[in-house]
């Protein structure tokens, strides 16, 4: 008798596997990055390297987070929505490392310099505002808080659209001369926001 083969994977397992992939793909580059940086194997200036890597990584993860809903809708893959929080939290995590790198390795805990840089350099100010907003979203992503907030939770988390715009500005302003890469990021950002045009319109009706 031939055993019955079942290729169908339960939705719950799909989400589980997907989350596992996200954990691994987000954590391995970070571990690799700091391992090399501590051992002086990350080029001549490991400080610049870790700042850029975590910064661009946070932006990438933020954009991926924003891609999930449109993809889930388009391809009718509702379970994808269950990975949004994890993705968003990793974007926040990379952003946190980005700021920590700046404080610990760039200005090396010179707090006077740290704060004067934040207030005097608009590109840093904008980046910090985005990160502070992300803190609020990360904290309120805890299930208990989410439930208690009810409708206001979604209103608050709509700030994600503002955050991604701030991050795009932060990246654009931080570049010294060639803006090709920031422009590509702008195009992707605006495309992802354009997909939500109906939502934005409804706010003003």
């Amino acid at each position: 008798m031939v055993p019955k083969l079942n290729f169908y994977i339960k939705v719950k397992d799909k989400v589980l596997w997907l989350k596992l992939v996200i954990h691994v793909s987000a954590l391995i580059p970070l571990v690799n990055l700091y391992f090399k940086a501590f051992n002086d194997q990350l080029g001549a200036d490991p400080v610049e390297a870790v700042i850029h890597f975590t910064g661009i990584g946070a932006f990438n993860l933020l954009l991926i987070t924003l891609m999930i809903t449109p993809i889930a809708k388009r391809f009718k893959l509702g379970y994808l929505l269950k990975t949004r929080r994890l993705m968003g939290l990793y974007a926040f995590c990379y952003g946190l490392f980005h700021l920590f790198n700046f404080l610990a390795f760039e200005v090396q805990f010179d707090f006077y310099l740290f704060f004067s840089e934040i207030f005097e350099r608009p590109y840093i100010t904008v980046g910090l505002v985005a990160l502070l907003l992300l803190v609020v979203l990360a904290v309120t992503s805890i299930s208990v808080i989410k439930r208690k907030m009810g409708r206001r939770w979604q209103q608050l988390h709509n700030f994600n659209y503002l955050i991604v715009l701030l991050v795009a500005i932060h990246f654009y302003w931080s570049v010294k001369s060639d803006v090709t890469e920031p422009i590509i990021y702008w195009v992707i950002t605006l495309f992802l926001l354009r997909l939500r045009i109906d939502k934005f319109k409804s706010w003003f009706n």
Binding site: P29, K36, G43, A44, I56, F105, E106, K176, S177, E181
Partner: protein, 334 residues
Amino acid sequence: MLIKISKSNQLNENSVTDENIYHSRRKAIKQMGFMGAGALLASSFSNQAQAGFFDDEPETFKTTKLNFTSDNNKELIKTPEKKIISHNNFYEFGTNKTDPQEKAQQFNTNPWQLTLSGECDNPHTLDYDDLTKAFPLEERIYRMRCVEAWSMVIPWIGFPLASLIKKAAPNSKAKYVAFETLYDPKQMPGQASRRVGGGVKYPYVEGLRIDEAMNPLTLMSVGLYGKTLPPQNGAPIRLVVPWKYGFKSIKSIVGIKFLTHQPPTTWNILAPKEYGFYANVNPEVSHPRWSQASERRITTGGLFARNRIATLPFNGYGEEVASLYKNLNLKNHF
């Protein structure tokens, strides 16, 4: 009769992997590495974090040993050679710090011509051999301060620009000296593509007042760490002005011209509010992008190197050069 009994773990000649296969395997692993790691965090930055993992040594530019008198300054801790030749702003080869080392190894420096012209009595041209033979070479261990607020200590080999200028015999109308980098888009990808070259208008040009150019500190460098310059550091000949931000120290020079007026300079054209003609290192005048009060000195040690130090006026060379700017408001003429 000899009876050879092989041990079971002994390898025969025919079990040795063919060299070609061995190398192609390395290539295959390398490609796999890029695919895997690129999946989530694909970005143009990926090269740095992954570099070195599966890399074979790239074919490098050949440098040769130089004869020179040594600099006996032992106070400064030198930046390791490996870092000096792998962390470069040379947008002709791309805007990432690692681009020049990656893309400049095929750069051809011989034949080379450096032409001196303009307001002088003896315009002339130096050929490749002249660059290292026309003047006695000396080592100068200088601090190099980048406008991006990092710095290195580099043992340059070269000769004073003053020697070269004296040979050209500028006339009394010569008030400024203009420098120009090679323009060769075939060899310099940044000149062929605006995107690769960071939107800079090429050829790269720089300039000094003639008294700045004549200052004994101002060096024409042809080497570092005892050998001729690698291309990423400006082979075969570059300027080194240690009391100014690094972008003044123009690389791979083909032309030096004596002028009556102040010449245009590349970064000043690109962003006049950010980069001035003088560009003297000045902790009190901060750049819109970076505070210039302190800097990170790149020497050894990884991420934990506590290398932030105060930036000194004129990069610590005030004694030698401050008198050049007695009557100049350095806040306005940044």
